[in-house]
């Protein structure tokens, strides 16, 4: 932990924490209300509680339901991945046949992509945090928000049906003409993707409208937290890209159903057109997966470095730039599919350009830590893991985006390792970090720091053991999706499989920590991390049903941590400006005691709703 002289950690109270820190007792609590009244006891509470939850339009409850749903699919798809890895322990068939192996990795891919990563951060953390960060009571269309959750569940149910009726063996990309010919359950699975896509669109529309139209007074675009900027960029991609995969899936389904020839070369169609359509969605979709993670990391880097996020505007606009450029690079998945060399060169060039905004972000995060008080909590450890792993994933992305190199590496484990470094090392690390960060706000309980840090170490170690070996395997020529392999790859496959067990163990520790905290965790104060965005400064933990009792007036940027601790923080030195305001010359803000929260000025702004509203005079 590095601190500068100006920033001795402030721990004003050392008395054992009461049940709730004084001044932070949540009076209203979205987890409990609306619900049955307290005099309803025992089992009689179950049905009213369930009914209140499944019919809720409260974005916080919808976020929590999304969190449970995506965690479930993450677990199922993760178990599939462990089975795939275990089968690859030795060449040949151990306990899966080649056919079962194909279905298993497809199950892993489809579930992870369409049922976990795409809805993960926007659906759970985004839904929960976005309206509170904007200082509003709910998203613009709460019913649509609930509808999006149920549409997602409907899509997921169809996917489960597809799996139960035999699964599919096409890989998550559904490439034609194989997906036209295989006898597996392609039809229900494509419909599942189509339906789940609708959920993505509805969430995207909701977020864009909420951000545009409903920000609290004083919350200008330049004061928006970077998580909001990221979700805004994501929503644009969701709205513009998802319909295309929708129509692609419809065309594929019709082709199988009616025997028409749009993608099937035997019927006059063009299978490469399917690849164009598919990647026109699915490449932007990888930014749907990673951009929210960028947003989470920006929040974590600022809060746990205790100073302003460096290059606020650059990070904000680079999110939008990635969203836009992301639409122009889909052809880099098709370098060896027979597209013209000219388009390959252009796609390769634009792929390099994507590296610029990504690099801007990474360098700015590193700069944010520079001369800050880096506070190594669990969320920060996950954020640092992200930084390390995403950088590897991003740089290898440039490698496979290079035309000549890709011809060698195409469809090898190198590509598998690359996108796992981005998707798992990026998005999943950020999501876990974000969960540790927002967990006290979501559930009003602190997670165990000790076990959190241990889990961060185990996950980081297991992840690298699993996937770094795959870079080596891929560069040596191990093709992806193969059921068996030559003897020279045996050792590295074994290392990778054992690494996957460490990874699974680390994730189990995270899950255990979460469950433990719900029952045994210490009550969380309103602002345990001393953060400066509205969900921490103006809402109780857990928040009230309507988030705020008074609409907040935003008077400072999202990363002006100093103003929370200084008595007269609203004057001078750029505070009161935007996210990039302030010169930072005062050094980083003090570190609060997470069990007591940031105890200074800001606690006054958390309105517990105890005061009766004054009758209106005018």
């Amino acid at each position: 932990m590095s601190t500068t002289t100006a920033a001795a950690p402030v721990r004003t109270q050392s008395a054992p924490a009461p049940k709730h820190p004084p001044g932070h007792e949540p009076v209203h609590n979205y987890l409990l209300e609306p619900g049955p009244s307290p005099d309803v006891r025992g089992l009689a509470r179950v049905w009213p509680t369930v009914k209140a939850w499944v019919t809720t339009v409260d974005h916080k409850r919808i976020g929590v339901m999304y969190l449970f749903a995506v965690s479930f699919f993450f677990a199922v798809a993760g178990i599939a991945a462990l089975l795939v890895r275990a089968e690859l322990m030795n060449p040949g068939s151990d306990f899966l046949t080649a056919d079962e192996y194909n279905r298993m990795f497809t199950l892993h891919g489809v579930m992870m992509v369409f049922l976990f990563i795409v809805p993960s951060i926007p659906g759970s953390l985004g839904n929960f945090v976005l309206p509170i960060m904007l200082g509003v009571k709910d998203v613009a269309f709460p019913k649509l928000n609930l509808a999006s959750f149920y549409v997602f569940i409907a899509g997921a149910s169809i996917a489960v049906y597809a799996i139960l009726s035999g699964g599919i063996d096409t890989g998550w990309t559904f490439y034609t003409p194989y997906s036209d010919e295989t006898n597996t359950a392609v039809l229900p699975m494509t419909m599942a993707v189509f339906v789940a896509g609708f959920a993505s669109i509805l969430t995207g529309i909701n977020f864009i409208v909420t951000i545009h139209k409903m920000r609290a007074p004083g919350l200008t675009w330049n004061r928006l937290p970077l998580f909001i900027w990221a979700l805004y960029a994501v929503s644009i991609v969701q709205v513009l890209a998802t319909p295309v995969v929708g129509i692609t899936m419809i065309l594929l389904a019709m082709e199988r159903l009616l025997n028409i020839g749009i993608f099937d070369p035997a019927l006059g169609g063009d299978p490469v057109l399917f690849q164009h359509f598919f990647w026109f969605y699915s490449h932007p979709a990888v930014y749907i997966m990673i951009l929210p993670a960028f947003g989470v990391i920006s929040e974590l880097m600022g809060t746990f470095s205790r100073q302003k996020v460096f290059g606020y505007r650059a990070i904000a606009l680079s999110s939008v730039a990635i969203a836009m450029l992301g639409f122009l690079v889909w052809g880099h998945h098709m370098f060896v599919s027979g597209q013209s060399p000219l388009s390959s060169i252009v796609f390769s060039l634009i792929t390099f350009l994507i590296g610029v905004p990504s690099g801007i972000k990474v360098l700015n995060w590193v700069w944010t830590m520079y001369r800050g008080s880096v506070w190594l909590t669990t969320p920060m450890l996950y954020a640092l893991s992200f930084l390390f792993l995403f950088t590897i994933g991003g740089l290898t992305g440039i490698m496979v985006g290079t035309l000549a190199v890709d011809v060698h590496l195409h469809d090898t484990y190198f590509v598998v390792a690359h996108f796992h470094y981005v998707m798992m090392g990026g998005t999943v690390m950020a999501m876990i970090g974000g969960l540790f960060y927002w967990w006290p706000k979501m559930f009003g309980r602190m997670m165990s720091e000790t076990w959190g840090r241990i889990s961060a170490g185990v996950v980081f170690f297991g992840f690298n053991m699993t996937f770094f070996t795959q870079f080596i395997l891929g560069s040596q020529g191990m093709p992806r999706r193969y059921f068996t392999y030559l003897p020279e790859y045996h050792d590295l496959h074994q290392v990778s499989t054992i690494g996957s067990w460490f990874l699974g163990l680390g994730l189990l520790l995270v899950l255990g920590n979460m469950i433990w905290s719900l029952f045994k965790g210490k009550p969380a104060p309103g602002n345990p991390w001393g953060a400066a965005t509205l969900e921490w400064t103006h809402a109780t933990s857990p928040p009230d049903h309507h988030n705020f009792h008074r609409t907040p007036l935003v008077t400072h940027g999202p990363y002006d941590y100093g103003v929370l601790f200084s008595g007269d923080g609203y004057s001078g030195d750029g505070a009161g400006g935007d996210g990039s305001g302030g010169d930072g010359s005062r050094g980083p803000a003090p570190i609060p005691n997470p069990e007591l929260g940031a105890p200074q000025e800001m606690e006054k702004s958390i309105d517990l709703g105890l005061a009766q509203p004054k009758p209106s005079r005018d």
């Binding site: 319909p243 028409i260 006059g268």
Partner: protein, 308 residues
Amino acid sequence: MAVRPTTITVDDPHAGHAGGHHGDGAGRPPHLKHYFVSSEQQFDAAKLGMWLFLVTEILLFGGMFVAYGIYRSMYPELFSEASTQLDTVMGALNTIVLLGSSLTVAWSIRAIQMNNKKLCFWLLVTTIVLAGMFMVVKYFEYTHKFELGILPGQNMVYAEGTTFTLPGLGDGNIASGVGNADGADPGGAEANNAGAHAAEGTSLHDLAEAGVSTRADLHAEGAEHGYVPGEHGLTNQRAGLFFSIYYVMTGIHGLHVLIGMVAIGILAVKTWRGKYSDAWYTPVENVGLYWHVVDVIWIFLFPLMYLI
């Protein structure tokens, strides 16, 4: 300690707590949701949301228009020939009907803005009637084609080297399905093309050109089998591709018309009950926007399918 206020009250803070009846704060109009500050904000939000949804609709159809464009450029003769099977008069009639319905729906928005609820109701009903007319014409167009045997997929064999025929007119080999393609292939065309395919990757243009070059032969072959070119209009062995796209695009467009009819029906009922007024007509406006997009898509479909 001079601290500026960090909260202001711009709304009734406890509006949402009264027994779950949202938006029943004093002085708030009944349509104003509790999480909006003002009617203007709610209207703007709803309208922006609708526009975003319409963008997704355009992109959904955009995929199909791209497919149309690609196959049209690949097989220009096929498209010009197969499109003669479509009834231009019916298509033109439908275009006029749909344009008329767009007028009435726009007029109904104007009517409700002027607080003329009765006129708004009858204009919405007219819109539904016109939309129904559109679907009836579509029904006759579809059934006519079904009678001719032009069905999506099932009864068309259009693999390379096979003549498109109508059931009962062609030889027995070409009943249905992909699997029959090889059997129906009389000679070396398939093998030649397969060879070209293997040699040149996925160059479908080559396939198309090969198909075009043998079209004269296929003409003759079709005539031998008792197939009279021109009578049923189709000599191109891949005519099914055009009709696949035709059925998919007009089918999904028709589905949108049906959804629009339901939505306008709900609007009409609510207008009859006096739910909307010049103070609040957001749903009328938004459904109107949707209906215009359905109309605009047809405006593109009609010339692309029927005229050129």
